[in-house]
């Protein structure tokens, strides 16, 4: 258990947060390597099942990040995600998963520093919560 490292899945939208994460790299802002990123066209593509499935498969934390409200490349995909997010985070408790393991943020393509802060924060919180036990 001593060498446990949190395994975190990050779902990022292509236009804002994925570009923001690229900017984090371009500006060489360090963050923990625990997060692995899956690219989506838009957070509107986020199926609540992905989150539940992620935990089922053993992820310790999930982060979903998209464009700020109003800035969606597809006008309003992120707003639909925002609605689903509220429902999913309530649902998680019913599955016996602490909803504090599930994070959502808005990171724009120009917020490279913010992305590294978000990841640091998420990783730290998951570290505090410990591994997800079945």
């Amino acid at each position: 258990m001593n060498n446990w490292e949190p395994n975190i899945v990050g779902f990022l939208c292509n236009w804002c947060s994925y570009a923001g994460a690229d900017l984090t790299g371009l500006s060489r802002k360090e963050y923990p390597a625990n997060i692995k990123i899956i690219k989506l066209p838009c957070t509107g593509r986020m199926d609540p099942m992905f989150i539940i499935e992620a935990f089922k498969l053993g992820a310790d934390g999930v982060l979903v990040s998209g464009c700020h409200p109003g800035d969606c490349h597809y006008n309003k995909g992120n707003l639909y995600w925002q609605r689903r997010f509220l429902v999913v985070s309530e649902l998680l408790n019913n599955f016996g998963i602490d909803k504090n393991r599930f994070f959502a943020s808005w990171v724009s393509a120009s917020e490279g520093v913010k992305f590294s802060e978000v990841v640091k924060n998420v990783t730290e919180k998951i570290r505090e919560l410990g591994p997800l036990t079945k």
């Binding site: 236009w15 984090t24 790299g25 371009l26 923990p32 509107g44 499935e53 992620a54 490349h73 006008n75």
Partner: protein, 658 residues
């Protein structure tokens, strides 16, 4: 049988110095269906691409994974390469092991190597579930929309018009001309700004391919590259554009006065007015908020005196809908609001002016007819202090960036002051002098040597009134000490800031903006006029501070990009769009409701013999592939090509299962 080839790039030392690439290669070889994994120094280079092509042949590969930089950088490069190797470009995935791995985990090489392995595994998992996709084609409407009629918009329209493309300029003010028309002279040549701008304005008006909508705004933009539908609101100007001859009698006779925006509130204008004498079109507008008739119901002086019966008090806004193939955004800038600098006393002291106010004062068509006069008592000033970097290079005000033009702008204004009033003294407080352009350094030197302008390196801490003068307290960091100057006037070199409603414009167009609210280019170096939304281009200072030469160059570049787009009759659009599984669709219409582009229509379909049902159908040319419908489908009847459920699930498994 799928045979995957994995190619891992060192990116010189960018990846290889943090990630142990041979280990990643070794790991990749152990992955399911991977036939071969190879390392190369620069995978994107010609030899790198040839390596991929040769390996495809040698190992009979049918799917390719490249672990290198961000797909935003080289996805297209490799797709083209893969296609050359006779593999469908969508049998290709990229693992981002540079921006999202080696560059951000430099301090933990072991973790970075492990993560690079994982990211490669994720890409392999996905590529195994990929399917061949073929580009869709969509016709290009060869009409361009230019938003903003400043020098950027004017130049872009002229270039487009000259190339034979129908172009529409939409300008918010009642005349084209923009910021440049407010300037008196331009650096470093000291050309009169109006003299070089107004011929271009006239050329725009006379070009048969260019249509100008002034006093109009873009309200709504729908569609995609080659096929935008734009709603334009033409605000009521209460003057008939056709009948008006521009004689100006109405303006002369109008009894209502208010301060002039064009003159930066240093002079007055009438309620029926053109912003400046060289206005194009030379048709006035009635400012409803100051017109006596609109306020009190009586007056009608303009109507009485108008010789051509051009006044229409009951005119209403008109919304027109037009189709365009490309959009050039040239919305320009505002000037930094000094009220944030209380210590400079702008607004409190009459003799503290903004740079643009000074510009209007020096202009012979300005409120003082070109005489430099102290606003408090209309006397000629002796000592004038210029302060640079107001709202620029100042993190304490959240304005970290350099506004680029102020060094030159201030030098020019100091020279103009000395030319108008040879006995005056000019002092410039600066941080650094950034005279980067052609002939710029020489120009600043002229100000210092020929015109004896005193340059003081330091900030001003405070300004207060003392008698008729302004006491300016500052530092001179080169001489090392405090400086006190009793000035007659203080001119603040305001920074360029984004237009006040730039966010709204960005949201209307669906283009990103940076932390300062300037629009973001597709790539800061290699794609400076493109945006992430194809078909929408940027020109001028709306994407960051620019001087006139850079603006004109960029406007030309944007026009050239539009011409390149218009050189084709059809353009390829990404095939990663939604697809309905008819047998699963329940016809609930949720997808139709959430689709941001109205790309889903309900269609009667025979699902079994004799059984007809209304089922969702994706209009392929309209779908942009956001996947919002997929995320909201209750029946899992709709899926997104390129981002199918099974593809994302495979990625998820790769991440989660150690």
């Amino acid at each position: 049988m799928a045979r995957v080839g994995v190619f891992i790039c060192d990116c010189g030392v960018n990846i290889a110095s943090t990630v142990d690439v041979p280990k990643v290669v070794e790991y990749a070889m152990t992955l399911q269906k991977v036939a071969i994994a190879k390392e190369y120094k620069y995978m994107c280079s010609d030899p790198g691409q040839n390596l991929i092509l040769d390996t495809i042949k040698e190992y009979k590969l049918d799917r390719i994974v490249v672990s290198s930089c961000s797909p935003r950088m080289h996805e297209l490069t490799f797709r083209i390469c893969v296609n050359k190797g006779k593999i469908n470009p969508y049998y290709f995935e990229m693992a981002n092991i540079r921006e999202q791995c080696s560059w951000v985990h430099q301090k933990d090489k072991e973790a970075a190597t492990k993560k690079a392995m994982k990211l490669t595994e994720i890409a392999v998992a996905k590529v195994l579930r990929n399917e061949p996709l073929f580009p869709l084609y969509s016709p290009v409407i060869k009409r361009a929309l230019v938003i903003g009629g400043g020098i950027a918009g004017i130049q872009a329209s002229l270039d487009l018009g000259d190339a034979g493309h129908e172009t529409v300029i939409v300008e918010r003010e009642s005349s084209i001309g923009g910021r440049m028309s407010q300037l008196d002279k331009t650096f470093p040549t000291l050309d009169c700004s109006q003299c070089i701008l107004s011929p271009k304005m006239v050329a725009v008006a006379q070009n048969k391919n260019i249509k100008i909508y002034t006093y109009a705004e873009v309200e709504e933009v729908q569609g995609y590259v080659g096929n935008f539908t734009v709603k334009i609101r033409k605000k009521a100007r209460y003057v008939d554009m056709v009948k008006c001859t521009g004689c100006g009698v109405c303006t002369q006779k109008c009894p209502a006065k208010t301060s002039s925006e064009f003159n930066e509130k240093t002079g007055d204008r009438k309620a029926i007015y053109t912003p400046f004498p060289q206005a194009v079109p030379n048709v006035p507008v009635i400012d409803k908020n100051n017109c006596i008739y609109f306020l009190k119901g009586k007056c009608k002086v303009c109507e009485k005196f108008c010789p051509s019966n051009a006044i229409i008090y009951n005119q209403e806004d008109e919304v027109v809908e037009e189709k365009f193939g490309a959009i050039v955004v040239a919305t320009g800038i505002d000037i930094y609001d000094h009220s944030n600098y209380g210590e400079y006393g702008y607004g409190k002291y009459k003799n503290v002016l903004s740079g643009l106010q000074f510009e209007r004062m020096v202009s012979s068509s300005g409120p003082t007819d070109g005489h430099i006069l102290r606003p408090s008592d209309q006397e000629e000033p002796k000592d004038v202090v210029f302060i640079q970097c107001v709202g620029a290079r100042d993190p304490s005000k959240g304005q970290d960036y350099c506004a680029r033009v102020c060094c030159m702008w201030t030098a020019k204004q100091a020279i103009l002051l000395k030319e108008h009033l040879p006995n005056s003294r000019a002092y410039i407080f600066y941080i650094d002098i950034r005279a980067f352009g052609k002939g710029y350094e020489e120009f600043v030197r002229r100000a210092q040597v020929d015109y004896q302008v005193t340059y003081l390196r330091g900030r001003v801490s405070r300004i207060y009134e003392k008698g008729k003068k302004l006491r300016v307290l500052g530092t001179d960091t080169l001489a090392g000490g405090q400086v006190e100057i009793d000035a007659d006037m203080v001119i603040l070199a305001d920074a360029m800031v984004p237009k006040y409603d730039s966010v709204k414009v960005a949201q209307t167009l669906g283009i990103p903006y940076d932390t300062y609210r300037f629009f973001t280019e597709l790539h800061p170096k290699l794609a400076p006029v493109e945006t992430v939304t194809s078909g929408i281009f940027l020109a001028g200072a709306c994407s960051g501070p620019k001087d006139i030469p850079d603006t004109v160059a960029q406007a030309g570049a944007a026009a050239a990009k539009v011409c390149a787009l218009f050189s084709k009759d059809n353009i390829e659009i990404e095939p990663t769009i939604a697809q309905v599984n008819f047998s699963l669709c329940s016809g609930c219409e949720t997808c139709k409701l959430v689709c941001p582009f109205n790309a889903i229509e309900m269609r009667e379909r025979e699902i079994r013999r004799g059984v007809k049902r209304s089922i969702a159908n994706v209009i392929e040319s309209v779908c942009r592939g956001c996947g919002t419908c997929v995320g909201s489908c209750y029946c899992k009847a709709i899926d997104l090509r390129g981002f199918r459920d099974k593809q994302i699930m495979a990625e998820l498994e790769a991440v989660c299962i150690e």
